[in-house]
Subunit: 142 residues, 3 copies
Amino acid sequence: MSFYEYKPGKEYIARLDHFADLLEAITELAQNTKIKAGRFTAIGALKNAKIGYYNQDMKKYEDIVFNQHCELAACIGNVSLKDGGVFVHAHVVLSDDAGNSKSGHLISGRVFAAEVHLTELTGPDLERKYDGLTGLSLWDIK
Amino acid sequence: MSFYEYKPGKEYIARLDHFADLLEAITELAQNTKIKAGRFTAIGALKNAKIGYYNQDMKKYEDIVFNQHCELAACIGNVSLKDGGVFVHAHVVLSDDAGNSKSGHLISGRVFAAEVHLTELTGPDLERKYDGLTGLSLWDIK
Amino acid sequence: MSFYEYKPGKEYIARLDHFADLLEAITELAQNTKIKAGRFTAIGALKNAKIGYYNQDMKKYEDIVFNQHCELAACIGNVSLKDGGVFVHAHVVLSDDAGNSKSGHLISGRVFAAEVHLTELTGPDLERKYDGLTGLSLWDIK
């Protein structure tokens, strides 16, 4: 494994706007707070969402559309740098009116209400670079 | 979006009592540690649980009863203030003996065993107020 | 409930190796960073996994084999001490190509790609001891 050591920075508590896109809003939060490296969790409810399943053989994401009101039962993610800008990577667990759960890589989601807990990490730049083995943009930790 | 900035406060590691109610026990933990704003995660196992799905059209929670022993596969939540007291908002992912998952807003749950990681956030008061658009008590961030 | 108070220590961001075992790799991360008490979250994708459902009546884990490529939609866990060594306890939510979710106690999982956010907690030793009531090794918090 490879890892970087950080110090805990500032903490942010955010209420996302009704109708915002979940991924865009968290990205905007990272930009507004000038966070370059961070981690977060979130909970709430969405009006709909699109999540991704990574096809490890084909090396591409397959879309899973969740076209209904749902609970954002869990959201875990991080903030790092990619192509010179802030990049948010998030996974979500969504649930329908019976509690049944769909989960995966967050592509987009319309916010009904969402609460985000974001921690800034202060230390080395955390950059993503293309990794040929997986086809993903992974952290390039020296 | 609207957000508040905090400094990381104390960290708490808690073992909840066998047979306690999960939501009440986390609320009691926040009260005992005098936390007014915080975030937490938890894992464990429950004897049973009741979770909520928020009906966005009707603006009310619908109960989903999970009347069986289950893993508390994930729990993410936060501590803030509501009506002058400490208020815990938590979402959970539960799973049965086949690993199948039900998730949503935590209403109640009987603890078999549970481990909580709670972080105090020091900074502005984080108060919930009724939001007419969603029908929920959301953070009133100035 | 019983709880310990900690101060936030160092923060670690780790990229796990392709083909590593998820539980072993997080344990190795805790060992390499000399963390004795901590909490973490992680996201990524696995090639396969084995998770546990705890049979509360029989007091033993039952294995659930997830023998397919999957998203690591959520992973929440902690680091403490057991039998003199570092012990990682983690729960996971996994999802298949339709987003359907299996979750439970992490026993093992082959990493495709995984990102871990680990927080060191500085304070009292956090030791696990056998608990007859549950049959589990729980935190022995004084």
